[in-house]
Amino acid sequence: MIRVTREDFSVDEVIASIRSGGMGAIVTFLGTVRNKSKGRDVDRIEIQVYEEMAVKQLQAIREDAITRFGVEDVAIVHRYGSLGVSDNIMMIAVGAGHRPEAFEACRYVLETIKEKVPLWKKEFTPEGDYWIEGEEYERTE
């Protein structure tokens, strides 16, 4: 399951969408809005997405991870729009026969998303708003 959405999601529901009898291990990564970023307080964030491309990229990453690590299934949900502190940003769920490949595939999917999928975070802080570009920051106003 791949979903790019403004809406919040339930971790239980996303896990239910992949759960099967062949799985002994389901590793989930949940990204949430942190109240600090590089020493600045964060009030909220906005996420912009190039949606058609993001969906295609996420589908390709999912298929690659399944083949590469031999896991049973992978689900990825990523939100966009305005999010407050502690809100869910995105989640990855990887179901596998055993734990090593579930952890490895989950980490791989996350790192690949951070490198390739066209989504950008803008952080709103008391000092101004910053687009985050890769690991760099740019003041936008």
Binding site: G31, I47, Q48, V49, Y50, E52, M53, A54, K56, H78, I89, M90, L110, I113, K114, E115, K116, V117, P118, L119, W120, K121, K122, W131, I132, E133, G134, E135, E136, E138, T140
Partner: protein, 79 residues
């Protein structure tokens, strides 16, 4: 021929728009287009530019065709 440009994140701020149509010569490649865009919009030069054609990452010398959508954006920061 006409192609569609799309801008995201800080590039939308630099260009003042989410997208625009542009007429380019037949045979224009992705790297030709990048040169044009860098000339058109101040600030593009100092930034790392990623691009995609019709939603796929492609190489530098890919030929463009009528109606292609070319997106320009900074390094991504989702996840």
């Amino acid at each position: 021929m006409n192609v569609n440009l799309k801008f995201f994140a800080s590039f939308r701020l630099l260009t003042g728009k989410a997208g625009t149509e542009l007429e380019v010569p037949e045979g224009t490649t992705t790297s030709d287009l990048l040169v044009m865009v860098r000339d058109m919009y101040e600030g593009f030069n100092e930034k790392t530019v990623l691009y995609a054609v019709n939603g796929e990452y492609v190489g530098k010398e890919v030929g463009l065709k009528e109606g292609d959508s070319i997106a320009f954006f900074p390094p991504v920061s989702g996840g």
